[in-house]
Protein backbone atom coordinates (compact mmCIF):
# COMPACT_ATOMS: atom_id res chain seq x y z
CA UNK A 1 0.00 0.00 0.00
CA UNK A 2 2.66 2.49 0.96
CA UNK A 3 4.51 1.67 -2.25
CA UNK A 4 1.42 2.62 -4.20
CA UNK A 5 1.01 5.78 -2.18
CA UNK A 6 4.63 6.54 -2.91
CA UNK A 7 4.14 5.85 -6.59
CA UNK A 8 1.17 8.13 -6.91
CA UNK A 9 3.04 10.83 -5.09
CA UNK A 10 5.89 10.70 -7.57
CA UNK A 11 4.08 10.22 -10.85
CA UNK A 12 2.85 12.79 -13.31
CA UNK A 13 3.82 16.40 -13.05
CA UNK A 14 6.82 15.05 -11.30
CA UNK A 15 9.58 16.09 -9.06
CA UNK A 16 9.31 19.86 -9.38
CA UNK A 17 5.80 20.06 -7.94
CA UNK A 18 6.74 17.59 -5.26
CA UNK A 19 9.80 19.58 -4.25
CA UNK A 20 7.86 22.84 -4.27
CA UNK A 21 5.09 21.44 -2.08
CA UNK A 22 7.53 19.96 0.41
CA UNK A 23 9.54 23.17 0.61
CA UNK A 24 6.38 25.22 1.13
CA UNK A 25 5.18 22.92 3.90
CA UNK A 26 8.52 22.85 5.68
CA UNK A 27 9.01 26.60 5.33
CA UNK A 28 5.55 27.36 6.73
CA UNK A 29 6.08 25.20 9.79
CA UNK A 30 9.63 26.44 10.28
CA UNK A 31 8.65 30.10 10.22
CA UNK A 32 5.49 29.66 12.24
CA UNK A 33 6.65 27.22 14.92
CA UNK A 34 10.39 26.64 14.91
CA UNK A 35 11.45 30.29 14.60
CA UNK A 36 9.64 31.42 17.77
CA UNK A 37 10.94 28.36 19.56
CA UNK A 38 14.43 29.32 18.44
CA UNK A 39 13.68 32.87 19.55
CA UNK A 40 12.97 31.96 23.13
CA UNK A 41 15.92 29.58 23.34
CA UNK A 42 18.15 32.36 22.04
CA UNK A 43 16.66 34.94 24.39
CA UNK A 44 17.09 32.64 27.38
CA UNK A 45 20.61 31.71 26.42
CA UNK A 46 21.55 35.35 25.98
CA UNK A 47 20.46 36.11 29.55
CA UNK A 48 23.10 33.63 30.68
CA UNK A 49 23.59 31.27 33.60
CA UNK A 50 23.27 33.97 36.24
CA UNK A 51 19.66 34.44 35.12
CA UNK A 52 19.01 30.77 35.72
CA UNK A 53 20.38 30.77 39.25
CA UNK A 54 18.82 34.08 40.23
CA UNK A 55 15.42 33.15 38.87
CA UNK A 56 15.32 29.68 40.34
CA UNK A 57 16.44 30.93 43.72
CA UNK A 58 13.40 33.17 44.09
CA UNK A 59 10.96 31.60 46.57
CA UNK A 60 8.04 32.87 44.45
CA UNK A 61 9.31 30.96 41.44
CA UNK A 62 9.79 27.78 43.40
CA UNK A 63 6.38 28.08 44.94
CA UNK A 64 4.79 28.66 41.54
CA UNK A 65 6.37 25.49 40.13
CA UNK A 66 5.17 23.54 43.13
CA UNK A 67 1.65 24.89 42.80
CA UNK A 68 1.55 24.12 39.08
CA UNK A 69 2.70 20.59 39.88
CA UNK A 70 0.00 20.06 42.50
CA UNK A 71 -2.78 21.38 40.28
CA UNK A 72 -1.56 19.35 37.30
CA UNK A 73 -1.25 16.08 39.17
CA UNK A 74 -4.67 16.36 40.80
CA UNK A 75 -6.51 17.48 37.67
CA UNK A 76 -4.84 14.90 35.43
CA UNK A 77 -5.54 12.06 37.86
CA UNK A 78 -9.15 13.13 38.10
CA UNK A 79 -9.72 13.55 34.37
CA UNK A 80 -7.93 10.28 33.63
CA UNK A 81 -10.08 8.28 36.01
CA UNK A 82 -13.37 9.80 34.94
CA UNK A 83 -12.26 10.11 31.35
CA UNK A 84 -11.74 6.36 31.02
CA UNK A 85 -15.05 5.71 32.73
CA UNK A 86 -16.86 8.13 30.42
CA UNK A 87 -15.16 6.76 27.31
CA UNK A 88 -16.20 3.27 28.37
CA UNK A 89 -19.81 4.30 28.88
CA UNK A 90 -19.86 6.17 25.56
CA UNK A 91 -18.59 3.20 23.57
CA UNK A 92 -19.91 0.16 25.41
CA UNK A 93 -23.29 1.27 26.70
CA UNK A 94 -26.31 2.14 24.64
CA UNK A 95 -28.94 4.27 26.29
CA UNK A 96 -31.04 7.31 25.65
CA UNK A 97 -29.13 10.53 26.17
CA UNK A 98 -25.83 9.06 25.08
CA UNK A 99 -25.72 11.43 22.10
CA UNK A 100 -26.10 14.38 24.45
CA UNK A 101 -23.32 13.09 26.67
CA UNK A 102 -21.15 12.69 23.62
CA UNK A 103 -21.75 16.28 22.56
CA UNK A 104 -20.90 17.57 26.05
CA UNK A 105 -17.43 16.04 25.87
CA UNK A 106 -16.22 18.42 23.19
CA UNK A 107 -17.71 21.55 24.72
CA UNK A 108 -14.64 22.57 26.73
CA UNK A 109 -12.76 22.82 23.44
CA UNK A 110 -15.21 25.48 22.30
CA UNK A 111 -15.08 27.53 25.47
CA UNK A 112 -12.51 30.25 25.91
CA UNK A 113 -10.41 29.68 29.04
CA UNK A 114 -11.45 33.14 30.16
CA UNK A 115 -15.07 32.05 30.09
CA UNK A 116 -14.15 28.95 32.07
CA UNK A 117 -12.69 31.16 34.76
CA UNK A 118 -15.72 33.37 34.69
CA UNK A 119 -18.04 30.36 35.07
CA UNK A 120 -16.20 29.37 38.19
CA UNK A 121 -16.54 32.87 39.59
CA UNK A 122 -20.24 32.87 38.82
CA UNK A 123 -20.70 29.58 40.67
CA UNK A 124 -18.47 30.13 43.68
CA UNK A 125 -17.71 33.85 43.77
CA UNK A 126 -19.60 36.65 45.46
CA UNK A 127 -23.32 36.12 44.83
CA UNK A 128 -22.62 32.81 43.11
CA UNK A 129 -24.91 29.80 43.17
CA UNK A 130 -22.81 27.81 45.64
CA UNK A 131 -21.10 30.64 47.50
CA UNK A 132 -23.24 30.40 50.61
CA UNK A 133 -22.89 26.64 50.85
CA UNK A 134 -19.11 26.66 50.92
CA UNK A 135 -18.73 29.91 52.85
CA UNK A 136 -20.88 28.57 55.69
CA UNK A 137 -18.57 25.56 55.93
CA UNK A 138 -15.51 27.74 55.91
CA UNK A 139 -14.21 26.43 52.61
CA UNK A 140 -12.51 29.00 50.47
CA UNK A 141 -13.08 28.05 46.83
CA UNK A 142 -12.47 31.13 44.76
CA UNK A 143 -9.00 32.76 44.94
CA UNK A 144 -7.76 29.43 46.30
CA UNK A 145 -6.60 26.01 45.21
CA UNK A 146 -10.06 24.37 44.79
CA UNK A 147 -11.16 26.80 42.09
CA UNK A 148 -7.82 26.54 40.30
CA UNK A 149 -8.13 22.76 40.21
CA UNK A 150 -11.76 22.90 39.09
CA UNK A 151 -11.07 25.10 36.08
CA UNK A 152 -8.05 22.99 35.10
CA UNK A 153 -10.18 19.86 35.24
CA UNK A 154 -12.80 21.51 33.04
CA UNK A 155 -10.19 22.35 30.45
CA UNK A 156 -8.59 18.89 30.52
CA UNK A 157 -11.80 16.85 30.27
CA UNK A 158 -11.82 16.22 26.50
CA UNK A 159 -8.24 14.98 26.07
CA UNK A 160 -8.35 11.51 27.61
CA UNK A 161 -11.86 10.85 26.31
CA UNK A 162 -11.02 11.94 22.77
CA UNK A 163 -7.96 9.69 22.67
CA UNK A 164 -9.54 6.65 24.29
CA UNK A 165 -12.96 6.58 22.56
CA UNK A 166 -11.64 5.83 19.05
CA UNK A 167 -9.33 3.12 20.39
CA UNK A 168 -12.17 1.48 22.27
CA UNK A 169 -14.22 1.53 19.08
CA UNK A 170 -11.41 0.10 17.06
CA UNK A 171 -10.53 -2.81 19.35
CA UNK A 172 -14.18 -3.81 19.46
CA UNK A 173 -15.70 -6.19 21.96
CA UNK A 174 -14.27 -9.47 20.59
CA UNK A 175 -11.39 -9.81 23.01
CA UNK A 176 -13.56 -8.71 25.93
CA UNK A 177 -16.15 -11.34 25.05
CA UNK A 178 -13.44 -13.97 24.68
CA UNK A 179 -12.15 -13.11 28.16
CA UNK A 180 -15.63 -13.48 29.62
CA UNK A 181 -16.20 -16.89 28.05
CA UNK A 182 -12.90 -17.91 29.66
CA UNK A 183 -14.29 -16.97 33.03
CA UNK A 184 -12.91 -13.47 33.59
CA UNK A 185 -15.09 -11.11 35.63
CA UNK A 186 -15.88 -7.62 34.30
CA UNK A 187 -13.10 -6.11 36.37
CA UNK A 188 -10.59 -8.79 35.33
CA UNK A 189 -11.60 -8.28 31.71
CA UNK A 190 -11.09 -4.54 31.97
CA UNK A 191 -7.74 -4.71 33.75
CA UNK A 192 -6.23 -7.62 31.82
CA UNK A 193 -7.69 -7.18 28.34
CA UNK A 194 -9.12 -3.70 27.76
CA UNK A 195 -6.58 -1.60 29.61
CA UNK A 196 -3.51 -3.05 27.83
CA UNK A 197 -5.22 -2.42 24.49
CA UNK A 198 -5.98 1.22 25.18
CA UNK A 199 -2.81 2.07 27.10
CA UNK A 200 -1.08 4.06 24.34
CA UNK A 201 -4.11 6.12 23.53
CA UNK A 202 -4.65 6.63 27.23
CA UNK A 203 -1.04 7.67 27.86
CA UNK A 204 -1.16 10.07 24.94
CA UNK A 205 -4.36 11.58 26.30
CA UNK A 206 -2.73 11.92 29.72
CA UNK A 207 0.29 13.62 28.17
CA UNK A 208 -1.93 16.07 26.31
CA UNK A 209 -3.90 16.87 29.47
CA UNK A 210 -0.68 17.34 31.39
CA UNK A 211 0.64 19.73 28.77
CA UNK A 212 -2.61 21.63 28.84
CA UNK A 213 -2.79 21.72 32.66
CA UNK A 214 0.81 22.90 32.99
CA UNK A 215 0.21 25.78 30.64
CA UNK A 216 -3.25 26.94 31.57
CA UNK A 217 -3.45 30.67 32.15
CA UNK A 218 -6.75 32.33 31.19
CA UNK A 219 -9.02 30.49 33.57
CA UNK A 220 -6.53 30.31 36.41
CA UNK A 221 -5.77 34.01 36.08
CA UNK A 222 -9.40 34.87 36.76
CA UNK A 223 -10.15 32.44 39.60
CA UNK A 224 -6.86 32.58 41.47
CA UNK A 225 -6.52 36.28 42.08
CA UNK A 226 -2.84 35.65 41.27
CA UNK A 227 -1.68 36.25 44.83
CA UNK A 228 2.09 36.29 44.74
CA UNK A 229 3.62 33.37 46.61
CA UNK A 230 0.19 31.88 47.31
CA UNK A 231 -2.02 31.30 44.29
CA UNK A 232 0.57 32.10 41.67
CA UNK A 233 1.23 29.22 39.29
CA UNK A 234 4.19 29.04 36.92
CA UNK A 235 2.19 30.56 34.08
CA UNK A 236 0.91 33.32 36.35
CA UNK A 237 4.50 34.00 37.38
CA UNK A 238 5.49 34.37 33.73
CA UNK A 239 2.58 36.73 33.21
CA UNK A 240 3.63 38.91 36.16
CA UNK A 241 7.33 38.80 35.31
CA UNK A 242 6.46 40.07 31.88
CA UNK A 243 4.40 42.94 33.22
CA UNK A 244 7.18 43.82 35.66
CA UNK A 245 9.66 43.84 32.76
CA UNK A 246 11.68 40.92 34.10
CA UNK A 247 11.72 39.30 30.68
CA UNK A 248 14.76 37.02 31.22
CA UNK A 249 13.04 35.28 34.16
CA UNK A 250 9.84 35.00 32.15
CA UNK A 251 11.74 33.48 29.24
CA UNK A 252 13.43 30.94 31.47
CA UNK A 253 10.26 29.74 33.21
CA UNK A 254 8.35 29.71 29.90
CA UNK A 255 11.07 27.67 28.23
CA UNK A 256 11.10 25.21 31.13
CA UNK A 257 7.35 24.68 30.86
CA UNK A 258 7.56 24.16 27.11
CA UNK A 259 10.45 21.74 27.58
CA UNK A 260 8.52 19.64 30.10
CA UNK A 261 5.48 19.35 27.83
CA UNK A 262 7.52 18.60 24.74
CA UNK A 263 9.61 15.96 26.51
CA UNK A 264 6.46 14.30 27.78
CA UNK A 265 4.86 14.08 24.35
CA UNK A 266 8.05 13.03 22.59
CA UNK A 267 8.67 10.27 25.13
CA UNK A 268 5.21 8.85 24.72
CA UNK A 269 5.34 9.06 20.93
CA UNK A 270 8.68 7.24 20.89
CA UNK A 271 7.49 4.55 23.27
CA UNK A 272 4.38 4.09 21.19
CA UNK A 273 6.36 3.74 17.97
CA UNK A 274 8.90 1.34 19.46
CA UNK A 275 6.09 -0.80 20.80
CA UNK A 276 4.30 -0.75 17.46
CA UNK A 277 7.46 -1.88 15.66
CA UNK A 278 7.93 -4.93 17.87
Amino acid sequence: MSARVEAIGQRGTGRLVRTLLIVAAVAYVAILVLAPLGGIVWATARAGWSNVTSTLSQPDVRHSYWLTGVITVISVLFTTLFGVLTAWVLTRHHFRGRGLLNALVDLPMAVSPVIVGLMCVLLFGRGGWFEAFFASRGIQVIFALPAMILVTIFICIPFVIREVVPVLHEIGVDEEEAAKTLGASSLQTFVRVTLPSIRWGLLYGIALSTARALGEIGAVLIVSGAIQGQTETATLYIFRAFEERQEPSAYLVALSLAAISICLLVTIETLKKRKARR
Binding site: R18, V26, V29, G39, V173, T235
Partner: protein
Protein backbone atom coordinates in the same frame (compact mmCIF):
# COMPACT_ATOMS: atom_id res chain seq x y z
CA UNK B 1 -22.55 -12.50 11.14
CA UNK B 2 -21.51 -9.23 12.66
CA UNK B 3 -24.88 -7.78 11.71
CA UNK B 4 -26.42 -9.97 14.36
CA UNK B 5 -24.02 -8.93 17.06
CA UNK B 6 -25.30 -6.09 19.12
CA UNK B 7 -23.23 -4.38 21.78
CA UNK B 8 -23.10 -6.11 25.10
CA UNK B 9 -25.12 -3.40 26.75
CA UNK B 10 -28.59 -4.96 26.68
CA UNK B 11 -29.81 -7.60 29.03
CA UNK B 12 -33.08 -8.43 30.61
CA UNK B 13 -32.02 -11.07 33.04
CA UNK B 14 -33.55 -10.71 36.45
CA UNK B 15 -31.41 -13.19 38.30
CA UNK B 16 -29.52 -11.79 41.30
CA UNK B 17 -26.34 -11.89 39.27
CA UNK B 18 -27.98 -10.10 36.37
CA UNK B 19 -29.45 -7.55 38.72
CA UNK B 20 -26.06 -6.90 40.22
CA UNK B 21 -24.41 -6.40 36.85
CA UNK B 22 -27.35 -4.23 35.80
CA UNK B 23 -26.79 -2.05 38.85
CA UNK B 24 -23.08 -1.88 38.06
CA UNK B 25 -23.85 -0.71 34.55
CA UNK B 26 -26.26 1.88 35.87
CA UNK B 27 -23.62 3.05 38.33
CA UNK B 28 -21.01 3.54 35.61
CA UNK B 29 -23.51 5.38 33.47
CA UNK B 30 -24.54 7.63 36.34
CA UNK B 31 -20.86 8.33 37.03
CA UNK B 32 -20.28 9.52 33.48
CA UNK B 33 -23.45 11.57 33.51
CA UNK B 34 -22.66 13.30 36.80
CA UNK B 35 -19.08 13.93 35.69
CA UNK B 36 -19.92 15.60 32.41
CA UNK B 37 -23.12 17.18 33.67
CA UNK B 38 -21.61 18.59 36.84
CA UNK B 39 -18.29 19.62 35.37
CA UNK B 40 -19.43 20.97 32.01
CA UNK B 41 -23.17 21.51 31.70
CA UNK B 42 -23.69 23.12 35.09
CA UNK B 43 -21.00 25.83 34.84
CA UNK B 44 -22.01 26.63 31.29
CA UNK B 45 -25.61 27.07 32.30
CA UNK B 46 -24.39 29.49 35.00
CA UNK B 47 -22.78 31.72 32.38
CA UNK B 48 -25.79 31.62 30.12
CA UNK B 49 -28.33 32.31 32.89
CA UNK B 50 -26.22 35.13 34.26
CA UNK B 51 -25.42 36.55 30.85
CA UNK B 52 -29.04 36.75 29.78
CA UNK B 53 -30.51 37.44 33.25
CA UNK B 54 -31.41 40.96 32.20
CA UNK B 55 -32.14 40.09 28.62
CA UNK B 56 -29.67 41.81 26.36
CA UNK B 57 -29.19 44.77 28.72
CA UNK B 58 -25.93 43.48 30.16
CA UNK B 59 -24.64 42.77 26.72
CA UNK B 60 -25.57 46.27 25.55
CA UNK B 61 -23.94 47.95 28.52
CA UNK B 62 -20.82 45.85 27.98
CA UNK B 63 -20.77 46.86 24.36
CA UNK B 64 -20.96 50.50 25.38
CA UNK B 65 -17.57 50.20 27.06
CA UNK B 66 -14.74 51.81 25.12
CA UNK B 67 -13.14 49.41 22.69
CA UNK B 68 -15.74 46.70 23.13
CA UNK B 69 -17.02 46.70 19.58
CA UNK B 70 -13.57 46.90 18.10
CA UNK B 71 -12.42 44.01 20.36
CA UNK B 72 -15.14 41.76 19.01
CA UNK B 73 -14.45 42.88 15.45
CA UNK B 74 -10.71 42.21 15.81
CA UNK B 75 -11.37 38.77 17.30
CA UNK B 76 -13.69 37.73 14.50
CA UNK B 77 -11.46 39.09 11.72
CA UNK B 78 -8.22 37.56 13.00
CA UNK B 79 -9.92 34.24 13.74
CA UNK B 80 -11.40 34.24 10.25
CA UNK B 81 -8.06 34.98 8.57
CA UNK B 82 -6.35 32.33 10.69
CA UNK B 83 -9.01 29.80 9.73
CA UNK B 84 -8.62 30.47 6.02
CA UNK B 85 -4.81 30.28 6.16
CA UNK B 86 -5.17 27.05 8.14
CA UNK B 87 -7.49 25.57 5.54
CA UNK B 88 -4.91 26.12 2.81
CA UNK B 89 -1.70 25.28 4.65
CA UNK B 90 -3.30 22.57 6.75
CA UNK B 91 -4.40 20.73 3.61
CA UNK B 92 -0.99 21.27 2.02
CA UNK B 93 0.76 19.92 5.11
CA UNK B 94 -1.41 16.85 5.40
CA UNK B 95 -1.00 16.12 1.69
CA UNK B 96 2.77 16.39 1.94
CA UNK B 97 2.84 14.27 5.11
CA UNK B 98 0.63 11.51 3.71
CA UNK B 99 1.68 11.34 0.08
CA UNK B 100 5.41 12.11 0.07
CA UNK B 101 8.30 10.26 1.64
CA UNK B 102 11.28 12.51 2.27
CA UNK B 103 14.00 12.90 4.88
CA UNK B 104 12.70 14.84 7.85
CA UNK B 105 9.08 13.85 7.31
CA UNK B 106 8.87 12.39 10.83
CA UNK B 107 10.26 15.59 12.31
CA UNK B 108 7.84 17.72 10.31
CA UNK B 109 4.97 15.61 11.59
CA UNK B 110 6.16 15.99 15.17
CA UNK B 111 6.61 19.74 14.84
CA UNK B 112 3.01 20.07 13.62
CA UNK B 113 1.92 18.65 16.98
CA UNK B 114 4.13 21.00 19.01
CA UNK B 115 1.43 23.64 19.49
CA UNK B 116 -0.59 21.01 21.38
CA UNK B 117 2.28 20.65 23.80
CA UNK B 118 3.44 24.23 24.22
CA UNK B 119 1.43 26.24 26.74
CA UNK B 120 -0.37 29.07 24.98
CA UNK B 121 1.11 31.68 27.29
CA UNK B 122 4.56 30.39 26.35
CA UNK B 123 3.62 30.83 22.70
CA UNK B 124 3.04 34.50 23.38
CA UNK B 125 6.33 34.75 25.22
CA UNK B 126 8.12 33.04 22.35
CA UNK B 127 6.70 35.43 19.79
CA UNK B 128 7.79 38.39 21.89
CA UNK B 129 11.25 36.88 22.29
CA UNK B 130 11.56 36.53 18.53
CA UNK B 131 9.80 39.62 17.19
CA UNK B 132 9.95 41.90 20.24
CA UNK B 133 11.91 45.16 20.24
CA UNK B 134 14.78 43.49 22.10
CA UNK B 135 15.40 40.94 19.36
CA UNK B 136 17.43 41.72 16.23
CA UNK B 137 14.74 40.20 14.01
CA UNK B 138 12.03 42.23 15.69
CA UNK B 139 14.19 45.30 15.39
CA UNK B 140 14.69 44.66 11.67
CA UNK B 141 10.96 44.35 11.04
CA UNK B 142 10.24 47.48 13.08
CA UNK B 143 12.76 49.46 11.10
CA UNK B 144 11.00 48.39 7.91
CA UNK B 145 7.65 49.54 9.23
CA UNK B 146 6.27 46.07 9.94
CA UNK B 147 4.82 45.92 13.44
CA UNK B 148 4.33 42.44 14.82
CA UNK B 149 4.41 42.53 18.59
CA UNK B 150 1.69 44.73 20.16
CA UNK B 151 0.03 44.83 16.72
CA UNK B 152 -2.78 42.86 15.02
CA UNK B 153 -0.19 40.91 13.01
CA UNK B 154 1.16 39.46 16.27
CA UNK B 155 -2.35 38.40 17.24
CA UNK B 156 -2.70 36.62 13.90
CA UNK B 157 0.68 34.86 14.24
CA UNK B 158 -0.27 33.67 17.72
CA UNK B 159 -3.58 32.31 16.45
CA UNK B 160 -1.91 30.55 13.51
CA UNK B 161 0.60 28.96 15.86
CA UNK B 162 -2.01 27.77 18.31
CA UNK B 163 -4.42 26.37 15.69
CA UNK B 164 -1.85 24.78 13.37
CA UNK B 165 -2.63 21.14 14.22
CA UNK B 166 -6.41 21.29 13.80
CA UNK B 167 -6.81 21.07 10.02
CA UNK B 168 -3.76 18.81 9.58
CA UNK B 169 -4.96 16.32 12.16
CA UNK B 170 -8.52 16.16 10.84
CA UNK B 171 -7.53 15.89 7.17
CA UNK B 172 -4.61 13.49 7.57
CA UNK B 173 -6.55 10.37 8.60
CA UNK B 174 -9.14 10.90 5.88
CA UNK B 175 -6.45 11.37 3.26
CA UNK B 176 -4.51 8.29 4.28
CA UNK B 177 -7.66 6.17 4.24
CA UNK B 178 -8.63 7.55 0.85
CA UNK B 179 -8.33 4.70 -1.62
CA UNK B 180 -5.37 5.32 -3.92
CA UNK B 181 -7.27 3.30 -6.54
CA UNK B 182 -9.60 6.26 -7.11
CA UNK B 183 -6.68 8.47 -8.03
CA UNK B 184 -5.13 5.74 -10.12
CA UNK B 185 -8.43 5.25 -11.92
CA UNK B 186 -8.66 8.97 -12.66
CA UNK B 187 -5.14 8.98 -14.05
CA UNK B 188 -5.72 5.87 -16.14
CA UNK B 189 -8.76 7.66 -17.56
CA UNK B 190 -6.43 10.45 -18.63
CA UNK B 191 -6.88 13.10 -15.92
CA UNK B 192 -3.81 15.18 -15.12
CA UNK B 193 -2.35 15.18 -11.59
CA UNK B 194 -3.78 18.63 -10.92
CA UNK B 195 -7.20 17.69 -12.25
CA UNK B 196 -7.11 14.47 -10.24
CA UNK B 197 -6.34 16.46 -7.11
CA UNK B 198 -9.12 18.98 -7.59
CA UNK B 199 -11.77 16.61 -8.90
CA UNK B 200 -11.05 13.40 -6.99
CA UNK B 201 -9.00 14.11 -3.87
CA UNK B 202 -10.31 17.51 -2.80
CA UNK B 203 -14.04 16.62 -2.89
CA UNK B 204 -13.33 13.63 -0.67
CA UNK B 205 -11.41 15.82 1.78
CA UNK B 206 -13.86 18.72 1.81
CA UNK B 207 -15.83 17.68 4.92
CA UNK B 208 -12.62 17.08 6.87
CA UNK B 209 -11.10 20.38 5.76
CA UNK B 210 -14.29 22.21 6.67
CA UNK B 211 -14.43 20.49 10.05
CA UNK B 212 -10.79 21.31 10.84
CA UNK B 213 -11.22 24.89 9.69
CA UNK B 214 -14.32 25.47 11.79
CA UNK B 215 -12.63 23.91 14.79
CA UNK B 216 -9.61 26.17 14.43
CA UNK B 217 -11.93 29.17 14.00
CA UNK B 218 -13.77 28.27 17.20
CA UNK B 219 -10.49 27.82 19.03
CA UNK B 220 -9.14 31.14 17.71
CA UNK B 221 -12.24 32.98 18.91
CA UNK B 222 -11.49 31.98 22.48
CA UNK B 223 -7.70 32.18 22.51
CA UNK B 224 -6.32 34.09 25.46
CA UNK B 225 -2.93 32.98 26.77
CA UNK B 226 -0.79 33.78 23.76
CA UNK B 227 -2.65 36.95 22.82
CA UNK B 228 -2.59 38.55 26.23
CA UNK B 229 1.20 38.61 25.99
CA UNK B 230 1.81 39.36 22.35
CA UNK B 231 -0.91 41.93 21.68
CA UNK B 232 -0.19 44.40 24.47
CA UNK B 233 -3.99 44.65 24.88
CA UNK B 234 -4.27 48.15 23.50
CA UNK B 235 -7.88 49.30 23.53
CA UNK B 236 -9.28 49.94 20.04
CA UNK B 237 -6.15 48.45 18.50
CA UNK B 238 -5.13 45.00 19.73
CA UNK B 239 -7.68 44.27 22.43
CA UNK B 240 -9.49 41.01 21.65
CA UNK B 241 -12.81 39.76 23.00
CA UNK B 242 -11.41 37.18 25.46
CA UNK B 243 -9.02 39.78 26.89
CA UNK B 244 -11.91 42.21 27.07
CA UNK B 245 -13.92 39.66 29.05
CA UNK B 246 -10.94 39.20 31.34
CA UNK B 247 -10.77 42.95 31.95
CA UNK B 248 -14.49 43.08 32.73
CA UNK B 249 -14.16 40.14 35.10
CA UNK B 250 -11.21 41.66 36.92
CA UNK B 251 -13.20 44.83 37.37
CA UNK B 252 -15.92 42.69 39.01
CA UNK B 253 -18.37 43.53 36.24
CA UNK B 254 -19.36 39.89 36.04
CA UNK B 255 -22.84 40.47 34.59
CA UNK B 256 -21.37 42.19 31.57
CA UNK B 257 -18.53 39.68 31.35
CA UNK B 258 -21.08 36.88 31.39
CA UNK B 259 -23.12 38.56 28.67
CA UNK B 260 -20.15 38.88 26.30
CA UNK B 261 -19.05 35.35 27.22
CA UNK B 262 -22.46 33.94 26.47
CA UNK B 263 -22.42 35.52 23.02
CA UNK B 264 -18.86 34.39 22.32
CA UNK B 265 -19.65 30.91 23.60
CA UNK B 266 -22.80 30.68 21.50
CA UNK B 267 -20.71 31.39 18.43
CA UNK B 268 -18.06 28.77 19.15
CA UNK B 269 -20.68 26.26 20.23
CA UNK B 270 -22.59 26.66 16.99
CA UNK B 271 -19.35 26.11 15.09
CA UNK B 272 -18.53 22.98 17.05
CA UNK B 273 -22.03 21.64 16.41
CA UNK B 274 -21.59 22.18 12.68
CA UNK B 275 -18.18 20.50 12.86
CA UNK B 276 -19.86 17.57 14.53
CA UNK B 277 -22.29 17.22 11.69
CA UNK B 278 -19.48 17.40 9.16
CA UNK B 279 -17.15 14.98 10.85
CA UNK B 280 -19.87 12.50 11.77
CA UNK B 281 -20.75 11.68 15.32
CA UNK B 282 -17.73 9.88 16.72
CA UNK B 283 -19.72 7.84 19.22
CA UNK B 284 -22.13 6.49 16.63
CA UNK B 285 -19.44 5.08 14.41
CA UNK B 286 -19.50 1.31 14.68
Amino acid sequence: MSSEVLPIGRTRTLSPRGLRSGLGRLGLRAGALVYLGGMIALPLSAVITKGFAHGLDSFRSAMAAPGAVSAIRLTIITALVAAVVNAVFGTLLSYVLVRYRFPGRGILSAVVDLPFAIPTLVTGVMLVALYGPASPIGGWFESHGIHIVFAPLGVLLALLFVTLPFVVRTVQPVLSELDVAQEEAAEVLGASRLRTFFQVVLPALRPAIAAGTLLSFARALGEFGSIVIVSGNITNHTLTAPVFIFQLASQFRSDEAAAVSAVLFAMSFALVLITYRLAGNRGERP
